[in-house]
Amino acid sequence: MKQGIFFTILSLTFCFSNVEGQLYKDYIGAGHSQGIIVMTSDNMMGSEGVKTLDGSGMDNPMMEASRFLAQATLGYRPTDIEAVKNLGFEAWIDDQFLEPTTLLLPEMNSIWYDLKVAYANAGIDTSDVFGPYALHYNYALWTVNMSNEDLLRHRITEALTEVLVVSMNSDLRDWGEALCDYYDMLSENAFGNYHDILSEVSKSVQMGYYLSHLNNPKTDTTNNIRPDENYAREIMQLFSIGLYELNQDGTPKRDANGNQIPTYDNLDIKEMAKVFTGLGAGAILDPNNWPYVPIFGLGTWAIDKTVPMQIFNSEHEPGPKVILKDITINIPNDGMAEVDSAISYLFHHNNVGPFLSYRLIQRLVKSNPTPAYVSRVAAAFNDNGSGVRGDMKAVIKAILLDSEARSGVMMRDITSGQLRAPFLRTMQFMRSQTINTTSGYLLNNGYTEIESTQHWPLAAPSVFNFYLPNFVPKGGFEQEGLVGPEFKIHNTSTSINYVNRAHAWTYWDAPWWDYEDNLIWPDTTSINTDYLYSLTDDPEKMINVLDLYLTHGQLSEITRENMRTAMDQLYWTWNEEWRWHRTRMLLYLFLISPDYVTLK
């Protein structure tokens, strides 16, 4: 699919009229006006200082919209800021619920087809070209997320990939269609019901492969073979209920002695493992070759990895299984009914609401939600208002429209915020800019980002994701009782690498690279910075434009002052190149600033 035309006609002009006149010293959120000096406001738009102070000015809603989009999308354009401002938060969400799903698999197949044609045209034997594999999934992931309209859906999908983890850090890397299909499955359910998500994940051949309940046989006492416990454990620990009984607000329940109460023990895992026996290939890749139909135990080489697993009852453990301490499942000769039953019991466990709510809030809004916030979202999970449990739409609205996500007061709260995961930093920046591409393709190989910053959808090191929800970084967090999961991958190596990525994006004008060695087509991409270049006579205007796009009007005075100083120093009379340097320098400083990299 060609994307070039679409990208080069993206208009950025509308927003200048909204921001260029304002020379503010600080961002003013609702309830945050004391001591703020508004030096000028934008007369053309009919606003004045007092309106900004009381929250009714033009820029304040734009900034609020930008901040909302930083939580609700992977990246957004100036037009999206305008849309949210005009529609309001909830109506925009409702609109997004209606957007058709943009899928990765058809995109990847289209790219793969085009690549093979291009290779053939270059005289290369396409039967020697390996794929589609993780590289082509990366291409599709990037292409879709640089051009889609279903922004909210893909943000939720990304969050779900960090909870229900499968990873290309396994043999799944060899199967691009498996990676795309798993991502698409989560996308298609992102506004559905968590019961379906848990069920489809459990039956997906990707998860079956990744956590080894694919081709998991029943007990064979003669040979000391017993069911594989891997998925039985992780579906409970990581995908549904967690290790300990929770209150609705996510805090642990305590017994009479003050101890936490385990949700299951090792015997429960062994019993649950029996439930997840007998699942095998749902379809084979080539029905013209042996074995013609799926058989139990078939290797992944022959399995169609986009079709869910099916049950082979003869390989399913017979007899009753006692799960979650005292629930007996016994449906003779219908293994899939037992799987469904176990998933249903897990889904209806009281822990799921707070367990999932806490994780999704951490991904979308903040690392340290208050128990009250978790409780409100969990309540929406438990009942969407119409008696339905697990309704993702209700959960999403509860998260994004909650006062704790929206209130300007929270921006200044020490407990409120997150270190943004590297993929989100990359994506938001790229989506906010106009990308010029000579080939018309948007082929980011992804490996540069994975290698540099260790964060990319479906590239986690293990089922425990890139970081655990309870990771406590250095620097005062422990003393405050706070967690900061994303700091797990912010170390002396990745932190510098991120700064250098920003350098490549701005100074080298190299937003990303494909992996085709320019063999097949000249593919150069660059960021169109004309909109900044035209403002280089007035650095304050440049700063204000980027403050709206990238830091939601929350740029701190300390960073702003450093930017002003740098802009002032970049001036000379012998040529005009200082304009280019101001443009690149300011983008660079924004991208590496603590203001952009954290979300408050």
Binding site: S212, V463, M563, Q569
Partner: protein, 470 residues
């Protein structure tokens, strides 16, 4: 616990452990430092040899849970028969096992996985030993106590996330954010004159083990080493402006924890990285080349950093490598062969590099893994277990030995608690404590590091296990 080899206390041990910063202890270090300085006794802190001779620890975390009863295997016919019966289709054929000559196991004989020929040679030449059936425990635990729930057992037993933390924190009864490697660095910080680079160098990013109360790891890239910021060595006008702006951002004090946390890491890395990179670029060419996989490359970088210890003013170094992919619920036989082969090559090259540097006695390399795995098969793999076998390598290791109680491997024996899971007979705390003692942590600080240690070992009674020359 039982069957510990009793080593005669060596005078060298007393000399080393009573010399220099280690004897100051950790918790009161700062005040002691001030006192010493005020007494005019600060010279040891200005010396490159504070803390006695140089020492380094290299921790290899085999994350995922190494199936270590296929790494170290009994070869006596009766014991092998138990092993083969319990493992069924996961058993290594007897003819493929590489025999090793253990000097402390009496009539019991052992061998290594067929992918470990070079490791077997290291063992036989006295460079390596194993500690068997070791695992996280809160106190000694019998089978009946375990089933009756009458003794506390580690939180989240059998779960990756918890067990992998416990091996790094030494605190299996709680979930804490600091590890015993980082806390040792807190205690021994005065051994290093270098204040820009952490004693804890990680080839695998942020980790709990190297996180102390004041220490954080310095993460390196396994092949590139320390990474520097593009343009930092360029003095052209626009770049000078960029550097100054970067300085200003990194030096600023943001009121927000997240913002400060973000930029502080960059700041630390930028200062230390330039110094570290300059030093490791002077590393010699090693005669036994490291192969290209990530583990070997990581150990190559460790060797580079060790070669630069004197230049860097680091008299203590603590290295961490996480080497994942051991959670072999599936296709264990094939996967483990490939992985152990990488281990075999890496350990061989690293040992050769240490000998080339003449520093082998000063560097101890040791393995950890969150748990052993079930002896029984789940079809073609094994599941999460508890006790397992680990190795230690280096000139300070009392080599060619198998320490601890290597169990009989029949299912249903008195430490087997289902599916071929063994209750550990040696506490991970004892293993850790012996390493800490060798590294220079004084006895008085051992229970600060390992609060449960007293349940297994009487502090002050010599080697907890005996695998290191203290």
């Amino acid at each position: 616990m039982k069957s510990k080899i009793n080593y005669v206390s060596r005078s060298r041990r007393n000399f080393v452990r009573n010399t220099g910063c280690a004897a100051l202890g950790g918790t009161t270090f700062l005040s002691t430092l001030l006192n010493l300085k005020s007494l005019g006794a600060s010279s040891i802190f200005n010396s490159a040899v504070a803390g006695g001779e140089y020492k380094a620890l290299v921790c290899l975390l085999f994350s995922g849970g190494n199936d270590s009863y296929n790494m170290l295997i009994p070869t006596d016919p009766n014991e092998y028969a138990d092993y083969a019966a319990s493992r069924s289709n996961l058993a290594i054929p007897a003819v493929d096992i590489i025999d090793i000559n253990a000097n402390n196991t009496g009539s019991r004989t052992f061998g290594l996985h067929p992918s470990l020929p070079k490791t077997a040679a290291l063992f036989n030449s006295g460079k390596m030993s194993f500690v068997s059936n070791v695992g996280s425990l809160i106190q000694p635990t019998t089978k009946s106590e375990f089933y009756n729930g009458t003794v506390p057992v580690p939180l989240g037993l059998y779960s990756h996330a918890d067990q992998i933390m416990h091996w790094q924190t030494g605190i299996p009864h709680d979930r804490v954010a600091t590890g015993w490697g980082g806390k040792m660095a807190d205690m021994l910080q005065a051994c290093n004159t270098n204040t820009n680079i952490s004693m804890c160098l990680s080839m695998s990013g942020t980790n709990v083990w190297q996180t102390g109360n004041t220490t954080t790891e310095f993460a390196m890239h396994p092949t590139q080493g320390a990474v520097s910021i593009y343009g930092d060595n360029d003095d052209w006008l626009a770049n000078t402006v960029r550097k100054e702006a970067l300085d200003n951002i990194l030096d600023a004090n943001y009121s927000d924890l997240f913002m400060n946390g973000y930029k502080n890491i960059i700041k630390t890395s930028r200062i230390g990285g330039q110094q570290l990179q300059a030093a490791i670029e002077m590393a010699p060419v090693f005669n036994e080349p490291f192969v290209g996989d990530n583990l070997s490359q990581s150990l190559n970088m460790v060797a580079n950093a060790i070669s630069a210890q004197s230049t860097l003013g680091m008299n203590r170094q603590i290295f961490f490598i996480e080497y994942g992919g051991w959670d072999m619920h599936d296709t264990l036989i094939n996967q483990q062969s490939g992985k152990l082969s990488e281990v075999d090559n890496a350990l061989h090259s690293f040992n050769a590099a240490m000998e080339q540097l003449g520093i082998s006695d000063n560097v101890t390399t040791f393995g950890i893994s969150e748990f052993g795995r079930t002896l029984s098969s789940n079809g073609d793999g094994s599941d999460h277990g508890w006790g397992g076998n680990v190795f230690a390598m280096g000139g300070a290791v009392n080599g060619s030995s198998i320490f601890g109680d290597f169990p009989l491997l029949d299912l249903g024996n008195d430490i087997e608690v289902g599916g071929g899971v063994f209750i550990p007979t040696t506490s991970a705390d004892e293993y850790f404590a012996e390493i800490a003692m060798w590294f220079g942590v004084p006895d008085s600080d051992l229970t600060t590091l390992f609060p449960n240690l007293g349940n297994f070992y009487s502090v002050g009674s010599g080697n907890p296990i005996g695998f290191l020359t203290l």
